[in-house]
Symmetry: C2
Subunit: 331 residues, 2 copies
């Protein structure tokens, strides 16, 4: 039997040494078990949410997510209502609130006290109440895609998720939910309108030549383009406190040489302006609003030395949603 040198020890001494050895082994095993237990993930108690959970949207790739930019003036109640909705939209990276309530405190305390929130929300305090504040280049903007929303517009998550996927296929265009058009008249003067305005007359149906940016996705690069626009464009927007969206469509159409936008037909879009307590009802109710927009068209044509807007009649919807077979035919 090979047990040298242990075997040479007397039986009693060997017994005690064996006991010591076993104790050491057991202790080591307990320590190892303890270490392993410490490495196991914590079992979350449903009743006690982890307040320190790291917001997972931070890890979303800048290519697969978008930033919501929402400018707000005198409708903080609507803003907070909308933030509760929009903060949970899939693929949202961050929200940037452009705070046009000059001199008024941002609701950051309220916001934080009602946390945690799925995504970070940044309040950008403005020193002047300007329409084009929302078209600045914000350092907090990290994604290629921007979702720009007016502070009184509610669009369903389904619509936004679908429209974002469409934007990803047409990243150089403004992909959104509100189409408008220009028409030319025999005098060469342009006029602005929606579907009630006569069609450009290309055949059947209607055409659109702009997608309004108050409910649309577009590439963040266009914000840089916009900042480099001629001073005359900025002055026009400041003069009218209007038309920043028309200017953006001119910019994009000129840049890509085709229709500036792609219209996605929304399933569920709502205007909440009647629900505000502030009584403030939005710029588009001003008597001169539409006339201003026709005015802007013609001014921009002067500045651009031509009409770059192009017509499109493509209307995009989501296949099989919301109706199980919204494409069914008698065939």
């Amino acid at each position: 039997m090979r047990c040298y040198p242990i075997c040479k020890l007397p039986g009693r001494v060997m017994g005690i040494r064996l006991l010591h050895f076993s104790s050491v082994v057991i202790l080591v095993l307990l320590l190892v078990a303890g270490a392993l237990t410490a490495l196991l993930p914590n079992i979350k108690d449903d009743k006690m949410p982890n307040l320190r959970r790291e917001p997972k949207s931070q890890s979303q790739s800048a290519l697969d997510s978008f930033t919501l930019i929402m400018q707000t003036y005198n409708r903080t109640d609507l803003l907070l209502k909308l933030l509760n909705h929009y903060q949970a939209i899939p693929h949202l990276h961050k929200v940037i609130v452009v705070w046009n309530n000059v001199g008024e405190k941002i609701p950051e305390e309220t916001w934080n006290s009602l946390g945690p929130h799925p995504v970070p929300v940044v309040f950008k305090v403005q020193t002047v109440n300007r329409m084009r504040n929302r078209l600045q280049i914000f350092p907090e903007l990290e994604t290629k895609a921007v979702l720009m929303m007016d502070d009184d517009t509610l669009i369903s998550a389904h619509d936004l998720a679908f429209a974002f996927s469409v934007w990803q296929q047409f990243p150089d265009q403004i992909v959104g939910f509100v189409p408008r058009k220009h028409i030319s008249t025999p005098s060469g003067i342009y006029s602005y309108g929606s579907f009630e305005l006569q069609t450009p007359g290309f055949g059947n149906g209607d055409q659109y030549s702009m997608i309004l940016i108050g409910a649309a996705f577009f590439h963040s690069g266009y914000l840089e383009h916009f900042q480099k626009e001629l001073e005359a464009v900025h002055a026009l927007i400041d003069e009218t406190q209007n038309c920043d969206d028309i200017a953006m469509n001119f910019l994009v159409a000129k840049h890509i040489g085709k229709s500036s936008g792609v219209f996605v037909k929304p399933v569920d879009i709502r205007n909440l302006e009647k629900e505000t307590n502030s009584g403030y009802s939005g710029m588009w109710h001003r008597a001169e609003h539409l006339l201003q927009r026709s005015y802007c068209l013609n001014k921009l044509v002067n500045i651009y030395d031509g009409m770059p807007l192009k017509y499109s009649n493509i209307m995009v919807s989501q296949f099989g949603f919301p109706n199980y077979a919204n494409h069914k035919n008698k065939m």
Copy 2:
């Protein structure tokens, strides 16, 4: 008075010479007037159409027009009905009828006796009744765009004009009216179906991964691609007398690395097969038709060593047609 040499002549002689001169002038004027009258365009008499009017579609650019390729078997009555409709579609360059009625005379005499026709129609006599006959490279095909139609399908001119304009924006894809999809199962075996088949499960709504070529526009270059396909693909189509459209979608998807097709929702599409006198009801009524198509999917995946089909949920409609405001919202 300066009138030498005329003034030197006696009065009577001068009178006669003046008369001669005037006559000559009048004669010349009459001749000129006559010549001008001959150059005036003929006033067309509405009751007597000019039988020798040159078909104006011949001058249509190969880029702005398309060729209709329609394969036909045992439904000549439907064929002729459809030809009357399709011959007048805007932007149509020519019609190629793939005559699968082997041994039967083409209706060329009937066709000519009922002329003139807006576009040329060519009957291509086939020696074997094969499904993939329609995917040959016909020398008469001059346009970049092909419209392929089954011989029992009637689609409105509005739909076709719109879909053609959509194809021009997506020329590398199959732009058509009939979407289908594949789904994968836990076993790795694929199955084929329409909207009743479970969705691929990407979120809301449905997806499609194929556009059937029996009612679609695609680039004529894909016919050349198809001819160069592996013999196994041709053999599969010949074996099943089916699946040429699935094979085309595999080809296109592999080639462009994205969804093979774009679905255009038709406003007015009709299947006329019940109206035929022949009693022939089409391949898709065979009991094994759908199972064959699942079979083809899996065979093609073997041949392609992978599944190249990609899903899409983009559904395209024409803005403002047929309803004046088919995009109107509560907003």
